[in-house]
Symmetry: C2
Subunit: 207 residues, 2 copies
């Protein structure tokens, strides 16, 4: 079925179907990495990245779908962030910590986790932290921030404290492998840590 | 005063006074890094390291003082861990989190902090985590662990959870630079985070 080759969606899913243009995807990714690292996720348009890569913006969408997916690709994330975000969005505000922990640690523990950890280690080891920082604050925790801003103006502090604990759990569990945290069953980890993280998100706080 | 050259303590402080033997110190350090990485701090004797480096154990003490100092040198720590430990030892058990946070974050914020962060990043970036893990558990938190084992058997869980939050604060503040945590005054950081860490150390817990 030669006609099927023109289907952009199918092309996107199967990845790199056009033999003569295999460099285009890499050009777009390189431009995206530079731009996102300079300006963060919110500060960059798909149009600007397309211009840097000297391609039509439609081609960026063709290869990567949404801007969020492009960002995930720039970070070498093996999963669509939306998968995690949907789980967090589905719960009431006083269960956010539990949902975030379960989703994020669950991801790190999953077969795809190794690639995420690899990308994270690269940044921790000396790469520009802007990409990961932007991912955490502008993609992963953006909706959480909007939901926990009580009293008004407290959300930034709340989210940065909660993020610090999340990051620490991930580093201790999957990079430094500190026991018994490293091999603690996910359910137990959630029971032990969610209350502390939830306290940062919705507990009493001075601004 | 040529006689002064034989004073081991002075030699240790001034560092590398013997022109013909400058390789000895590095040989000892290399042996120490390998041994500590393989077996952790507690699992290695100064005698074994000296044997690996083919030097007399007295020479190890001559160059590095205590085994703890040798470990610090292997980790490229610019400070004697005892400086931090003494501050933590001085407080009652229900103020340990506050003391640890103040001492450790204070160290990272100090002029010597950059070297500590550099050593930490090297490990996070892909080095063997055994050295840092051993440092955290067997040197930095050993005395804390002994003091928080209530009910008996809970100390390992308590310490690994508290360590994970500490690690996260350090990564978020000094590597990813997540605001407002990154530029939060130390006093404010201690006020906000000490209760959560203290909860892990001495709060109610199921084993």
């Amino acid at each position: 079925m030669p006609g099927g080759r023109d289907d952009a969606a199918a092309d996107h899913v199967s990845g790199g179907r056009r033999p003569g243009k295999s460099g285009t995807r890499e050009q777009i990714l390189a431009a995206a990495r530079t731009r996102f690292a300079e300006s963060g996720f919110d500060g960059v348009s798909v149009r600007a990245i397309a211009a840097d890569a000297a391609v039509d913006p439609a081609l960026v969408h063709h290869y990567f779908g949404t801007k969020r997916n492009l960002f995930a690709a720039a970070l070498a994330l093996p999963v669509d962030p939306e998968t995690v975000l949907a789980q967090v969005r589905a719960v009431p505000v006083d269960e956010i910590a539990r949902a975030v922990l379960r989703a994020v640690v669950g991801l790190w523990d999953s077969p795809q986790g190794a690639a995420v950890i690899g990308a994270f280690r690269t940044v921790l080891g000396g790469g520009d932290p802007q990409l990961i920082r932007s991912f955490i604050l502008e993609v992963a925790l953006k909706e959480v921030r909007a939901r926990v801003d009580t009293p008004p103006g407290s959300a930034e502090v709340r989210v940065s404290l909660a993020a610090s604990h999340m990051i620490g759990i991930l580093v201790a569990r999957r990079i430094l492998e500190i026991e018994p945290l490293a091999s603690m069953p996910l359910d137990e980890l959630v029971e032990r840590c969610a209350p502390q993280i939830q306290h940062y998100l919705t507990g009493p706080i001075e601004v």
